[in-house]
């Protein structure tokens, strides 16, 4: 074989390559199927073998989950739960971005402001957002507002920290070149600090989105579950809790998977917006 034959073999090469690439996804499929089978066998162990396996034996089987899911898809209250949770996530998240970005930028730009505010900010940070739930319920007039507050709080710190980190990691040479080309403070803020911080804002938003979902679910479970606010207005977190309380165990898993899907979709959206906003990071 010489060089020319290799080059001529390119289509073959491409085919081989694609098969090779496939081993990755094939293995993924294999492993996911194995996982489902294991889960099914484990859950059905009592029915099939008469011996209940520990832990996994208590989990509803995938077949039960799917059969419970079917009717739910036609149930408007299920979709209302989706809507409720997404709505809360959206507003909590937007609020965190709207307040967190300027707050972080201000801290990054003004040293005095940072020295004053940051220590106070730091003592709040290690307090988990859910610890705020009771205080929020006491303070805010409606339960909806207290959930929104805790949601906002969860994402806020991540966003602010990322903005500060991003703004402070901008290469000092960028400021120096801008200044030596005659830029004023406002121009530096608008054209250097803002775009320079954008990648970190995107990262902060992606992480913050994940946290928001965690918080929303928890808040819904604690407030909706603890208080009998009830009904379909509780969101997916409450849906899970309600299924548990009502004894319809397969629905718990349906709720979990739904939240997983919702979380995945929202972070994909954030990532997509992020990559549109930072085209220079998409090299080539």
């Amino acid at each position: 074989m010489n060089a020319s034959t290799i080059v001529a073999n390119r289509p073959m090469g491409r085919l081989r390559k694609s098969i090779f690439h496939d081993t990755g996804s094939r293995r993924a499929i294999v492993s996911l199927i194995l996982f489902l089978v294991f889960w099914e066998v484990g859950s059905q162990s009592k029915a099939w073998f008469g011996v209940q396996l520990p832990w996994i034996g208590m989990v509803p089987a995938p077949t039960a989950v799917f059969s419970a899911w079917g009717p739910l898809l036609l149930d408007p209250s299920y979709w209302q739960s989706w809507w409720q949770s997404s709505y809360r996530v959206f507003f909590g998240f937007i609020a965190a971005m709207i307040l967190g970005i300027p707050f972080g930028l201000l801290m990054a730009v003004s040293k005095n402001y940072r020295d004053t505010v940051f220590p106070v900010f730091e003592i709040f940070r290690p307090i988990p957002p859910l610890a705020w739930v009771p205080a929020a319920i006491i303070f805010w007039p409606t339960q909806e507002m207290s959930i929104a507050f805790v949601t906002f709080y969860g994402a806020f710190f991540t966003v602010v920290l990322n903005v500060i980190g991003g703004a402070r990691s901008i290469d000092v040479r960028y400021f120096q070149s801008a200044r030596s080309m005659g830029a004023n403070g406002w121009d530096i803020f608008r054209r250097i600090i803002l775009p320079g911080t954008l990648p970190s804002i995107v990262i902060g938003a992606t992480v913050g989105m994940g946290i928001t979902w965690e918080v929303v679910v928890a808040a819904e479970m604690i407030s909706g579950g603890g208080n009998s606010m009830g009904g379909a207005g509780g969101g997916l977190g409450f849906f899970i809790w309600n299924s548990y309380v009502g004894g319809s165990y397969p629905q718990i898993v349906v709720g979990m998977i739904s939240i997983g899907i919702a979380g995945y979709i929202s972070s994909t959206i954030i990532r997509w917006i992020g990559s549109r906003a930072t085209p220079w990071l998409r090299m080539r």
């Binding site: 290469d171 040479r173 960028y174 120096q176 070149s177 801008a178 200044r179 030596s180 080309m181 005659g182 830029a183 004023n184 121009d187 054209r191 250097i192 775009p195 320079g196 954008l198 930072t278 085209p279 220079w280 990071l281 090299m283 080539r284």
Partner: protein, 298 residues
């Protein structure tokens, strides 16, 4: 600046080239306080002559970058004065422009936007400026890459874009801090040619910092050899080689080699001098140097 002289006006650029002269007299720069103070620049005086390419060479870590920050006005000297055409430098200004080590192109702007940054920032987004940007894009051969972002450009192209970004602002003094550092040797040589041509066409006042002796000799009109920390000028050599220069001529040329030897001798001595408190690079150098002394049988 009123005292700046108009030297020449290359066809097509639509720019009036102004060139200024900078004087650095008895400048000291100290960081830290009391027993923690480090003197980086000490009693340093020299002039960057009008319309000439002054190259400063010294071992790495000798405080050249500090000097550049002082010249650009990003920092203030502890004592002494820096003036441009007789006016004291108090802060950064558009009469002086710095091109940095590695690339400092804004990664979030396309090549064209980067070049136009200066004019836009000053609110001079005029047709005249846009023409000038086009002219410079052609000049550095980046017309086809105008809408690419810097990470999409090769190292050599980034440096060329950076030169264009600096030139559009028509600075009276251009300050370049090891602008070709990090490029591979061959690309570097090509960049020297590019840069030398740009300089020969306009004869701005240029101040160029490097650690590479070949680069220095190829480019310089005047060569300042710096001492180790605290930085001072050790020697000034006039590089009186004819322009335009070509690399193969420089390798052959006896005069160029003579200057090179002269400069090397001073640099070696400088490294020697600093062995007690100097940079690591210098102490490496010393060691090899002393090995050589041993080798030649003394």
């Amino acid at each position: 600046m009123s005292a700046a002289q108009e030297i020449q006006k290359p066809a097509g650029s639509g720019m009036q080239i102004k060139a200024a002269e900078m004087t650095i007299s008895h400048v000291d720069k100290t960081y830290g306080e009391k027993q923690f103070a480090t003197e980086v620049v000490k009693n340093c005086s020299f002039t960057i002559e009008r319309g000439k390419l002054t190259v400063m060479i010294g071992p790495s870590g000798c405080g050249k970058s500090t000097l550049i920050r002082l010249l650009a006005g990003f920092e203030k000297p502890t004592s002494g004065s820096i003036s441009i055409d007789g006016n004291k430098v108090t802060g950064p200004g558009r009469d002086r422009l710095v091109v940095f080590q590695e690339s400092a192109l804004f990664p979030w702007m396309s090549t064209y936007d980067n070049i136009m940054y200066g004019p836009k920032a000053r609110g001079e987004n005029t047709p005249e400026m846009r023409d000038r940007a086009e002219f410079l894009l052609d000049k550095v051969g980046l017309q086809r890459f105008r809408s690419k972002y810097p990470p999409q450009l090769s190292g050599g192209m980034q440096r060329r874009a950076e030169l264009a970004r600096a030139m559009i602002n028509n600075p009276e003094v251009m300050i370049l801090d090891e602008p070709f550092r990090g490029l591979d040797h061959m690309t570097k040589e090509l960049m020297w040619k590019y840069y030398a041509t740009l300089y020969e066409e306009s004869h701005r006042t240029n101040f160029f910092v490097t650690t590479d002796i070949d680069e220095a000799i190829f480019l310089a009109d005047r060569l300042l050899i710096m001492s180790n920390k605290p930085t001072q000028v050790r020697a000034v050599l006039d590089v009186d080689l004819p322009r335009p220069r070509s690399l193969s001529n420089i390798v052959d040329d006896d005069r160029a080699n003579q200057i090179k030897m002269e400069a090397l001798a001073i640099l070696h001595e400088e490294a020697m001098r600093s062995f007690a408190g100097g940079s690591k690079a210098a102490s490496d150098f010393i060691q090899a140097y002393s090995d050589r002394v041993g080798k030649s049988g003394k």
